[in-house]
Each structure stands twice: as C-alpha cells, then as structure tokens.
C-alpha cells in the first residue's frame, strides 16, 4: 500500500456505486474495485467493519481510511484530488450543485422504485405521475444547457447519470417514455452516455431491467 492507494467497494446494480465509478474515471484516479456480490443475504466482514452504521455500498478506501455515502465520497474525491474539478468554482454555484444533489438523492430512486414495486394499476399510475413531477424540476434546471454543470460534465450530472440505468425499467412498468415528456432531459442522458467515463462505468440498463423482472417475480408481481 502506497500513498493514494484507492479502493472502491461496489455492487453491480447499485446506481450509487456507479456514480462513484464515473467520478473516479472523470478525475482519472486509478483504483481497485472490490465487488460485493450478495448484499441481500450475506454482507462481507470488510463491508460490515468499514460501514458499521449503514452497512451499505459504496465504500471508498483512501490509504485504508473508509469514506461512506456516495455523494459524500464524490465530494471527498473532488477535495482530496483537486485536478479536474467536478464542482463549480464559486460558492453560490457549489450551493446550487449541492441543492440539486440533495434533491436527486431524496427523490429520484425511491420514486422510480414505487413504479415497479406494485402491480395495482392506480398505484403504478400515481407513482409514474410522481416520478414525472420530480423530473419536471430537473428538466427545468437543466434548461438548454448541455449539462447540469453548464458546458462541462460535473457533479450533478455524475449524481444523476448512474440512476438513469434504472429508467428503462421505470418506463417499462410505468408505460411511458421520458423523451415524450422531457426531450431535453432525454437528450442529456444520450449525450452523457456518449462519454467513455460513463459508458465504461455504468451497468447496462438491460441488465438492470432483467434484475427488476427477477425482483418482481420474487415478490409475486410478475
């Protein structure tokens, strides 16, 4: 182990792990990936020891010091490795980035899960409408910009893009297409996926959708 020894504990389906991988790629930080394969029944001793409070991935180890919670990890990486910054420079821009990060973290994944985790038609419809309402504000803040960060792919883009691997599953079970409602947001997804740092870090949406089908079967929803 030398200085700047970086390891990342991940699980393939977790959009929160995927976003950290994108950040590491964007900042060109070399790291070793440690995969947790079975989070449902058996978490490893290393995970339980390094994140005793939440017992969740991702966990980043920098020179053996653990940092937990994906948004916290990405913020840490941007400060510990200042080259290729992900945050805007000015304090106000940073506060806006943190605001949207918090919005994304609180709302997007739970709203999406509500769409596929029920088979009651009116519950699905309500969940879909709630999800689209949440996307409305994100589309509004993106506006005509190429990225949430402006001209450059940055912090907010990284936080949201990992979650989009789950969007085709939401669209399948909610029977909608995001591009019909928010074409500029859909274009942002396409533009971001064209970046090698993104396409090489994210699990394919097909694999995620297959996981959702399996989870639905497990819970008697298919």
């Amino acid at each position: 182990m030398g200085k700047d020894d970086v390891k990342l504990m991940t699980m393939w389906a977790s959009p929160f792990c995927m976003r950290v991988k994108v950040a590491l790629a964007e900042k060109e930080i070399a790291y070793e990936e440690i995969q947790e394969n079975d989070l449902l029944t058996c978490k490893s001793d290393l995970l339980l020891k390094s994140n005793p409070v939440h017992k969740q991935v991702p966990v980043l180890f920098h020179d053996d010091k653990p940092i937990c919670e994906s948004t916290n990890i990405i913020t840490y990486l941007d400060e510990a490795f200042p080259a290729k910054p992900l945050f805007p420079e000015c304090a106000y821009g940073r506060s806006r980035a943190r605001f949207w990060a918090d919005y994304i973290d609180c709302k997007v994944h739970p709203a999406g899960r509500a769409i596929w985790s029920t088979k009651e038609k009116d519950e699905v419809e309500a969940a879909k409408n709630n999800f689209l309402e949440i996307m409305k504000y994100l589309a509004g803040t993106l506006g005509d910009k190429d990225y949430f960060n402006g001209d450059k792919f940055g912090f907010v883009d990284i936080l949201l893009i990992g979650l989009t691997t789950w969007f085709p599953a939401y669209e399948k079970y909610g029977d909608f297409k995001l591009e019909d409602h928010y074409p500029k947001l859909a274009a942002w997804i396409t533009r971001s996926w064209a970046r090698e740092t993104v396409s090489e870090s994210l699990t394919s949406p097909e694999k995620i959708t297959n996981l959702v089908i399996m989870l639905r079967k497990m819970h008697g929803l298919e």
């Binding site: 010091k65 940092i67 916290n72 913020t75 940073r94 943190r98 605001f99 918090d102 504000y137």
Partner: protein, 224 residues
Amino acid sequence: MPAIEDSGVVVLGWWVSMFTTRVRIALAEKGISYEYIEEDIPNKSPLLLKHNPIYKKVPVLIHKGKPICESLIIVQYIHETWKEGYPLLPSDPFLKSQAAFWADYIDKHIYQVVKLTWDSKGEEMQKRVEEFLGYLKVLERELGEKPYFNGESFGFVDMALICYYSHIIGFGKIGNFSVEKDTPKLFAWATQCMKRESVSMTLADPNKIYELLIEIRKKNGLED
C-alpha cells in the same frame, strides 16, 4: 426602491425550526450581521415562496439577492464565502467527509423526533422512543470522550445536532425519557454547547417548544 433581500444577508426563518436555529448559530459563530425575517408559518410569505419555490420551507439565506436553501448547504455556503473568523468545517478533506457523514446521519434519524411528537402515543410511542434512544446512543458512541463531535472545538456536527436539543427535551417529557439519565455524555456535551453565546442566544426556549408540542398533540387527539 431596492428589495429588502438585495441588501447584504437576510435569513427567512421560524422560531420553531431547528434548521433555522442551525443557520443562525453558524452566522453567530462567524460574527456575520444579517436581517432576520420571522415567517408566520403556515402563512408563508411571497418572499419565501419566491426564493424556495420547490420546497417552500425555511430556512432560506439570501445573500446579495441570491437564495440558498437547505440548512446544511447554507452552513457550507457560509463557511466557503466568509473564510475569515471561526472555521465551521475542518479543512482536511477526510475530516470534512466524516463531519458530512454524521450531519447526514443526524438529519436522517434525529429529525424523526418532530414526527414522533406530533403523531404517536401509547405503546407505539414507546416503541419509537426505544428506536430514537438507539440513534442517540450511536451518536454518544461517536462523541466518545471528546468535548465536542469536532474534537476540542465546536464544529459542524455539533451545530447539526444541538439545534434539535429543545425538541429532544420536549419529546423526552412526552415520551418519558431523560437525556440526562439515558444519554449522560450527550447531556454533558449539550450543557457545554449551551455555554456558547451563539447557541444560548439562538436555541428556542425548551418550555415554549414543549407547550407547542402539547398544543399540536391535543389538536391531533393525542392528549386529553
């Protein structure tokens, strides 16, 4: 005529809101002057609705006309904008990440004290008191033997937690637990924090919070 919010620093707040208290503690620690506007919740002002259109909540800090929302984000903004004076966050990135982790833990788990006092009673209340005490004990372990969560000096995590104290005391009276007896280290820590002017001048009166909680519980049919 220039709008009030275009001049200097303005805080939109509510005396009951622990998040407003948090921001006011941070401003006081930094010695920053500001105009405070007390919102008449639930009759939210056009100014609040204009500057926080998504959540429509206090606190909002308005600096040179630009709004910053969400209390932890506001504290970080204050730290980054006014670099002189008392440091609100550690400069070391790892220590900063630890502070951010615990502040997030506090808002995920301690915030429920608000909901617990407003909508439960009897056996259900007691079950949730046990859970709540569990979270306080995790925080107590994290504090350890240090005078503050930040170490030798008052910092980000201390600010994040102390702002809940009046509500925790009020909840203790309703839920029949005592911070002093059940989490003595946290009690000692809170007593220490309250010696700071930024805290003692800003924290809501626990008796007033308790009276308000009882009033709300009566309206919700949880008290006779």
